[in-house]
């Protein structure tokens, strides 16, 4: 039906040791659970993950952490996963803490051909230490570099067969910017529809950004994602 649709197990050919992965989701919403499940079985090492948070304990990206696949995590909020805090305190995980808006903008720049930008956010704080600061209009700004990934793992609601994507409510979050900022973009979706079924006004991620589609193993029951087979 679409040449972008691949089997989830093809992930093994697309991700390499040492890759930087941009992974969508805020909390557990808009998170590519199936792709993360598969990735956790592949035994990849030294991955850097860019994601708002590292899931929760043994949920979402928490699984990768548990399996020892991660070298570094870049995100805004790791406190929701005690394991992340623990591994960091043991020196097993590098963490780069970035304000949430700066994180979103850095990824957007990565996809937009913009090398970096100046923001007031975090100026004068510990998170600006070691970064260039500069005055504009009498206020201190911090220089932030773009973030690019090797592979983006994102989660959408529906794709059409061309690869156009729409997202379910706030499941959108970081997914659209991450779709622009990696060499390879893999979208886990709940459903694939025919071209023309998504309105040109609704399409949030145009197909140009999407390389591969994987159907999600998770079904939503009573509004909550249910682990396959459970």
């Amino acid at each position: 039906m679409t040449d972008k649709l691949i089997n989830k197990n093809d992930l093994s050919k697309l991700i390499n040791d040492g890759d930087t992965l941009l992974v969508g989701g805020f909390g557990l919403s808009g998170t590519p659970f199936t792709l993360i499940d598969v990735l956790a079985t592949l035994g990849k090492k030294n991955l850097t993950v860019v994601s708002n948070n590292l899931g929760e304990k043994d949920k979402g990206l928490g699984i990768l952490l548990h399996k020892g696949c991660l070298k570094k995590a870049i995100g805004s909020y790791f406190t929701s996963n005690r394991d992340a805090v623990y591994e960091w305190s043991k020196g097993n995980l590098e963490i780069e803490l970035v304000p949430q808006g700066t994180l979103a903008e850095r990824i957007r720049c990565g996809g937009a051909g913009i090398a970096g930008f100046y923001t007031k956010t975090a100026a004068g704080t510990k998170l600006a230490e070691g970064k260039e600061e500069r005055e504009f209009d009498g206020e201190t700004h911090v220089f932030e570099r773009a973030i690019k990934g090797d592979v983006s793992l994102i989660k959408a609601w529906k794709a059409d067969t061309l690869g156009n994507l729409i997202y379910d409510h706030t499941g959108r979050n970081f997914n659209p910017v991450m779709a622009t900022a990696s060499k390879i973009v893999i979208a886990e979706v709940d459903e694939i529809v025919e071209v023309g079924e998504l309105s040109p006004y609704e399409i949030t991620t145009p197909h140009v950004y999407v390389d591969y589609l994987v159907l999600s193993d998770y079904k939503k029951i009573g509004g909550k994602y249910v682990v396959p087979g459970s």
Binding site: Y77, L97, P99, A104, G124, V177
Partner: protein, 215 residues
Amino acid sequence: MLSQEARIKIAKRVAEELSDGDIVNLGVGIPTLIPDYLGDKKVHLQSENGLLGMGPTPDEKDINMDLISASKHPISMEPGASLFDSSDSFVMIRGGHIDVAVMGALQVDQYGEIANWAIPGKNILGVGGAMDLVAGAKKIIIASMHQAKDGTPKLVEKLTFPTSGNGRANILVTEHAVFKFSDQGTELVEQLSDLSLEQLKEITGAPFTYQGALV
């Protein structure tokens, strides 16, 4: 006063500071109680994970875990709500389009500088959207218990906890008082408990004026 009672008192008083039509971002903790005390006032709640027009917790049957608040709880949408991605959400926040951000704090200094993300000596692993809001919101209201759990005051002369940025709080509402901040320092504008001025001074870590005079 029981803690929950105090928290509700703070939420009610902050609600009075909000105006019809305000675009408001509510942080975790006490701020999340505010919507219950708005009465007829209609404000527009922004959630930094990508929604303007956040409505109340839905009935169990209407829950969709892809429609959640920044605190990751299921929510609903008000009529006129709109959805956007994280980068557009922070255009709204960083760009100065949020009328009021209500947030908690670990400390506030006498000029309104805020520390609300990290405690020295503890692991610094979460910041979320706090610094973006401090940098971008037009008005910042701190909604906080007057003292931390260990009894130390939240309002201090000089921050000992790491700052959240150069943005300043405009107002601090605690269970005992409402303070306003300016370049001149802290002004007590309203007492909310039966503590005497002397007693209030006792449990406050920064000098403040009241009716033009230093207390």
